[in-house]
Symmetry: C2
Subunit: 196 residues, 2 copies
């Protein structure tokens, strides 16, 4: 019927997978939700795993959009990080209302699942993590130039820790069904970034 079939499949899969996991969602579930038949799914994707990679790519595009908006340089670098945390928490809150429960990080959860699934999936997973880290690296680097964080700080190293911290908070937010848990990241990031 339409040219957007592939996108509809990925979008449906994204929602279902985010509410559970790739392994818990069947290709038939995805087809039903997308209003599409099995053959169409396998016309666009060679395997379920490939669909999973496409979902990760889709989630990364959405995250990329959020990152670009939050990290734009209309405010000082550390404020950008705060802004990102706020929006990340907002998104968890919205999703909590949409589904019945707080989901985890749409990237972290899928990455954890795909990492043990072959080379392409693993490569894609680390690529996404590296790209995400880069946003933090840039912001911290700029803050360092402004003297807002100690000069002994190595931006790239700290950035990895910030990403890890956010991922862990997202897991706890899911476990306690409380998106607000991640907001503490705003203070925590400063503590992790200030000294080396």
């Amino acid at each position: 019927m339409a040219r957007d079939t592939r996108e509809r499949i990925v979008a449906a899969a994204r929602d279902l997978v985010h509410a559970a996991s790739l392994a818990e969602v069947s290709t038939e579930d995805v087809c039903r939700a997308a209003g599409v038949h099995k053959g169409s799914l396998y016309h666009f994707f060679p395997s379920k795993e490939a669909l999973g990679v496409a979902v990760l790519e889709c989630n990364w595009t959405l995250m990329r959009t959020m990152l670009d908006a939050a990290f734009s340089d209309d405010v000082p670098p550390l404020a950008r990080i705060d802004r990102f945390v706020d929006r990340f928490a907002d998104r968890l809150t919205v999703m909590r209302e949409t589904m019945g429960a707080t989901p985890g990080c749409p990237l972290g959860g899928l990455i954890g699942e795909l990492v043990g699934h072959g080379d392409q999936a693993r490569t894609q997973a680390t690529r996404v993590l590296n790209a995400w880290t880069q946003n933090f690296t840039d912001a911290i680097s700029e803050a360092k130039g402004r003297g807002e964080v100690g000069s002994a700080v190595e931006a790239a190293t700290v950035a990895v820790r910030l990403l890890a911290h956010l991922q862990g908070l997202a897991l706890l937010a899911m476990a306690y069904d409380d998106p607000q848990v991640v907001l503490t990241a705003k203070q925590d990031f400063r503590l992790l970034a200030i000294s080396s």
Copy 2:
């Protein structure tokens, strides 16, 4: 044949689940690995989900042992935390050699999966997280009494952040297939605990 059948089932399930996820492991896989028949599994467990809860319980017992050893008061409180991180990393390293890849946290991964699976599972998951957090809370509280961390620090609040940080680092360790990633927690914990 033996009275330890239930334990063999749980142990087999634990290994398989830790190397992948509960959803990716079938009851037949578990039975094969445990040298047991389907009926025996369902004699001890009413459902696959109940088996998952038992695996979480088993992993928690193992973690409890590690925690008791690491947090014994023969060294100052902050050193206990360091010791725990070292042993946690050691365990990931051993498991990396056993399987082909670095696994995530045996508790964190399963908790993330069980949280969306009904009341009993969710309750168990939060109970484990709370009990784990308590170890950090006690150590920080004692360090506070000794003046090793700022008096403005609320131990319980900081403890949650430490656990979150460790969980996030475990995810990244899995993604990058490098258990050493979690070792940075030793420095990070100090930064997170020192001020409030």
